[in-house]
């Protein structure tokens, strides 16, 4: 089933085929991912939702070539994931902002460009654009530790966007924020996504967040980590705070909730 609403996916940005990942630990093997097939369209905003430990972070890291799958293939932007990472197609933001204390906000955003070998003048210009985008221009010369958690997370998002990545991978980037800031950043994220047209894979454990942001919600089930269901979200963009109040939104939320509970129940019964 395809989404009839904007933006229209034009191709496949990410393709996983038969991906599994087994971690060997001292207390035995952990099957974090089991036989995952997943296509993510170019320009899509796909959320990975599921109980903790179901392999969301592992799946995101497999897509980003930070974790090598035990079996299966990962294609990103037409090549293998390793090549996509080598050619710097990814922007990543994790639950912890992970900014460098020794750099100012601006120089943090410049870091990926510096790694890429972009010249000083262009670096600065791009960083200024990103600062504008996340509305932190006036804090350009602050140190990360002088900023609140929400502002730090915005810097991390700006840093992830600075390289104008084809694929944006985000692991619960808003998880640590209070409700107000969280919803504010959700709106900003949608604005940025629509302005840049990147493909986003977004890990969250919040149902309303997944529904509000995504073109598609992928519900995962634990032990072993599998894709339980894929739910297209047919709400038109731009989505605003009013969207959250519509019947369609609440119906979508209910639908996702049911699918998630279907995943949770056999687990709790099995315990």
């Amino acid at each position: 089933m395809t989404t009839p609403t904007t933006p229209t996916p034009t191709g496949t940005a990410i393709r996983l085929a038969g991906v599994s990942k087994t971690f060997s630990t001292s207390s035995g093997d952990v099957v974090a991912l089991d036989d995952i097939d997943l296509d993510i369209p170019e320009g899509g905003f796909v959320s990975l939702l599921g109980p903790s430990g179901c392999g969301k972070s592992t799946l995101l890291r497999v897509i980003g070539d930070l974790v090598t799958p035990t079996t299966g293939t990962v294609e990103v932007a037409g090549t293998i994931a390793a090549e996509a990472r080598r050619t710097r197609q990814y922007g990543m933001a994790f639950q912890a902002p992970g900014l460098m204390d020794w750099r100012t906000v601006r120089r943090n955003i410049e870091l990926p460009l510096q790694v890429q070998g972009v010249g000083r003048a262009e670096r600065r210009q791009r960083a200024d654009e990103m600062l504008e985008l996340v509305k932190l221009t006036q804090f350009a010369d602050h140190r990360p530790r002088q900023l609140s958690g929400g502002m730090q997370q915005r810097v991390a998002i700006a840093r992830a966007l600075a390289m104008q990545p084809r694929v944006l991978l985000m692991d619960e980037p808003l998880g640590a924020l209070d409700e107000m800031n969280r919803e504010h950043l959700q709106r900003e994220l949608l604005r940025i996504w629509r302005a840049t047209g990147t493909t986003v894979v977004f890990v969250t454990h919040s149902i309303p967040e997944a529904v509000f942001l995504s073109t598609e919600v992928v519900v995962m089930s634990p032990r072993p980590g599998r894709i339980a269901s894929r739910i297209p979200v047919d709400l038109p963009y731009p989505r605003t705070d009013e969207t959250r109040l519509t019947d369609e939104f609440q119906a979508a939320e209910r639908h996702v909730r049911e699918r998630l509970h279907a995943v949770l129940e056999p687990t709790t019964a099995g315990l």
Binding site: G98, M100, R145, L147, M151, M163
Partner: protein
């Protein structure tokens, strides 16, 4: 964006750093004055012989009257100490980078270096004097450099190895090279630890140079002055030289703190 956007306030910069320093130093200053006064009283009222313990006033007098001799003796000592700190910092950082490159064995090497740091390096002074000549400052610089290098290596290597997983993962995600990880993450991340090591090393280097000079033959230096005046029972002069040596140590400590504030500005960016 509209005024309805929740406004987040940045954590306020801790102002009053100066005031904080002052209020931290005030009790120490008061205690110091009390101790000096008690010392003076004990010596005067108790009738302590000057060769056992001169009164602070006598030491102060010696500092003033021997000022030219003290200054000229302090010069080679200070030179040796500063050279040792610079060389020890450079060698220490270099060694740390090399050790941290071999992550598999780094911890073992680090443990060995830390073990070596438990040995009293100054005890090597006569040996170094024999190797490099006791009358030049070379032997002093060598012993002191060793004293500085060890704590710098121990601290800096620990700093270099302690990369936050998030930082490591981020650098990996942008396909950064090992060299870029070193330059942009590991080295700046290890700077605070480097300065911790340097502060310990600086204190040790003053000790190393002075003690080295005790065995030091003819050259004019604070350690020589201390040894000679003590041998002649001119203890007011000995104490005056010890006082100057302490001043030297304190200034070095202050200088390092100053450099640290410039080199590691993020350490003071929050009150924490």
């Amino acid at each position: 964006m509209s005024a309805l956007v929740p406004v987040e306030r940045p954590v306020r910069l801790s102002r009053g750093r100066g005031r904080g320093l002052l209020s931290a130093l005030a009790p120490a200053a008061v205690l110091g004055v009390v101790l000096l006064l008690s010392w003076q009283l004990v010596v005067l009222v108790g009738g302590v012989q000057a060769y056992l313990l001169p009164a602070p006033s006598a030491i102060a007098q010696a500092v003033v009257s021997d000022a030219p001799a003290l200054l000229s003796a302090a010069r080679p000592t200070a030179t040796a100490v500063v050279l040792a700190v610079l060389a020890g910092a450079a060698l220490g950082v270099l060694a740390s980078v090399v050790i941290a490159m071999f992550e598999g064995v780094a911890r073992v090497v680090l443990a060995l270096v830390a073990l070596a740091g438990c040995a009293p390096i100054v005890a090597l002074a006569p040996i170094f004097n024999a190797w490099l000549g006791s009358t030049s400052i070379a032997s002093k610089v060598a012993v002191a450099t060793l004293s500085v290098t060890i704590p710098v290596v121990v601290n800096t290597t620990r700093g270099l190895l302690a990369v936050s997983p998030t930082h490591r993962e981020y650098m990996q995600s942008v396909s950064a090279s090992r060299r870029q990880l070193l330059v942009h993450v590991r080295l700046p991340g290890a700077l605070p630890a480097l300065f911790d090591g340097l502060r310990v090393g600086a204190t040790l280097s003053v000790i190393a140079v002075i003690v080295s000079e005790y065995f030091g033959g003819t050259s004019n230096a604070l350690g020589v002055l201390i040894a000679n005046t003590a041998a002649m029972s001119r203890f007011d002069q000995t104490w005056a030289a010890v006082f100057v040596a302490s001043l030297l140590g304190l200034s070095l400590y202050g200088l390092i703190a100053l450099v640290e504030r410039v080199a590691v500005p993020w350490r003071s960016a929050t009150s924490g």
